[in-house]
Every structure is written in C-alpha cells, then in structure tokens.
C-alpha cells in the first residue's frame, strides 16, 4: 500500500467513525463531536493530497485547511450554544426526545 492510500484510508475510517457517532448517539453533544471528527477527516484528506499533489508550492491545500479549521471553530461555538438553548427549553440533550417543532 502506498503512503497516500494509507492516509486516505485513515481519513475514511475517521470519517466513518464520526458519521457513526453523529447518526447513532442519543446525546446532542456527541452528535456535534461526530460532526467535528468528520470535518477533521476532510482536513486530513486536504493535507494528504497537498503533500502528494503535483504542485505543493501553491499552498492551496494548507490554506484551505486553515480556513476550514476557522469555520469548524465557529460551527462548534454556534452548535454548542444551540445545544445549551435546547437544553434550557426541553431540559434534556437527548435528540430522541427533542421531537416537536413548536412547544
């Protein structure tokens, strides 16, 4: 197996684990953590393709990941604020029990 394929497989496994957490966990915070893991897997793909790409001097992969990390930080802050607001309203962070649109 070549190094690039190994990094891509690692990224695929991290993405699948994050997706499993986002789809199967009850707690909303764990769902958000799963989404963060998926974003990180995508970042690893960007860095691996930048390193093994034909034109690494352009630094596009690195800069894309830097912007992506910034957006992930904003997403985490807003997502956790939403979870806290939902917890105040429903007194639970269990996504199975948050099933009404108006209430």
């Amino acid at each position: 197996m070549t190094p690039l394929a190994a990094y891509l497989l690692l990224s695929a496994f991290v993405f699948a684990i994050g997706l499993a957490g986002a789809l199967t966990r009850r707690n909303a915070i764990l769902v958000l953590i799963g989404i963060e893991l998926m974003l990180n897997a995508a970042n690893l793909n960007f860095i691996a393709f930048w390193r093994y790409g034909p034109n690494p001097e352009a630094l596009t992969g690195v800069l894309f990941v830097i912007f992506s990390i910034g957006i992930a930080a904003a997403e985490a802050a807003v997502g956790l604020a939403l979870i806290i607001a939902i917890y105040r309203h429903y007194k639970t962070a269990n996504v199975d029990q948050v099933n009404t649109l108006k209430g």
């Binding site: 070549t2 190094p3 690039l4 394929a5 990094y7 891509l8 497989l9 690692l10 695929a12 496994f13 991290v14 699948a16 684990i17 994050g18 997706l19 499993a20 789809l23 199967t24 966990r25 009850r26 707690n27 915070i29 764990l30 958000l32 953590i33 963060e36 990180n40 970042n43 690893l44 860095i47 930048w50 390193r51 093994y52 034909p54 690494p56 001097e57 630094l59 992969g61 690195v62 800069l63 990941v65 990390i69 910034g70 957006i71 992930a72 930080a73 904003a74 997403e75 985490a76 802050a77 807003v78 956790l80 604020a81 939403l82 806290i84 607001a85 917890y87 105040r88 309203h89 962070a93």
Partner: protein, 165 residues
C-alpha cells in the same frame, strides 16, 4: 511511512472509536482530545507544521474546552439504565458501513493513490503569511466577518431568555 504512521493511525482510530462509544461524556471528550492530537501528529508527519500546531491550538485548546463546558452546563449525567445509542442505531450503522465500503473501494481502485512521495515542499509560516495577505486576503476577511458573526450569534442564542424565566 512505517512504524510511526502505524502508531499514529492506530491511536487516532482507537481514540475516535472511544470518543463515539463510551458512556461517560467526560471520558468521551478526553478520548476526543487524543484523536485530535493523533490527527495533529499526522499533519506534522505530512510536513504541514503550521496546520499541525493550529490543530493543537484550536481543537485541543479551544474546541474540546467548549465541549467540556457544554457537558457541564447541560449536566448530561446519562441515565445508567438507558442505552447511549438512539433507537434507530441499526439504520445508522448500515449507512456508515455503506459509506465506508464505498470510500475504501474508491481509494483502493484509484490511480491517484498510487503516487509516490514527492520531495519535501517548503511551507514556512512566512510563505503562508504572505499568501494569506496576498492571494487569499478576501477569504481571510470573510473568515474574520464569519467568526465575529458566529461569536455574537452564539452569545445571543445561549443568552437566557427573559420571557420564559
């Protein structure tokens, strides 16, 4: 490529599995820190030093602290008699296995994945800075605006609603 990659990959995958499957939420967030550190080590191994240290600062330093704060605020001590997985977990696992199968199949068949390692590129902080101030100055400004909006929005969303109290 070799023993160091095997250690990093095994640690990252094991920590990610632990973060997604443990019952205690604090343990989950600590496992998440280990997974983020493993990914940062992978970035460092790929000669992307700046991204590796940004990963450590942003994810290990900030995002995991935010997660711990949210766990403490929502007091999510889970009911020990209740499963931590949702009612539709079997459908979720089926989707995950399908996605993983497609990804592994695509990676194994791809000709791009056969590339050999090119010589080490130079990605110094100076180069990244001049790119950020030159070609990528507009995305940088947009990110600054987005972060400001997200900060204000997060405060407003999480602020206690006077009408309901």
């Amino acid at each position: 490529m070799g023993i160091s990659f095997a250690i990093i990959a095994g640690l990252t995958v094991a920590a990610a599995v632990a973060a997604m499957s443990l019952r205690n939420l604090i343990h989950c967030s600590l496992a998440l820190v280990v997974a983020f550190a493993g990914l940062a080590a992978a970035y460092l191994q790929l000669d992307a030093q700046f991204v590796g240290f940004a990963q450590i600062l942003v994810y290990i330093g900030a995002v995991s602290i935010l997660v711990v704060f949210a766990i403490l605020i929502t007091r999510s001590g889970e009911d020990p008699n209740e499963s931590v997985f949702s009612m539709s977990w079997m459908a979720g696992i089926a989707v995950v296995l399908a996605v993983l199968g497609v990804l592994v199949w695509a990676i194994m068949r791809s000709s791009v994945a056969q590339r050999e390692l090119p010589p080490t590129p130079s990605a110094t902080v100076q180069q990244i800075g001049s790119e950020l101030m030159g070609r990528f100055v507009l995305p940088l400004e947009v990110i600054g605006l987005l972060l400001t909006a997200a900060l204000i929005g997060a405060v407003i969303i999480a602020m206690r609603d006077r009408n309901t109290d």
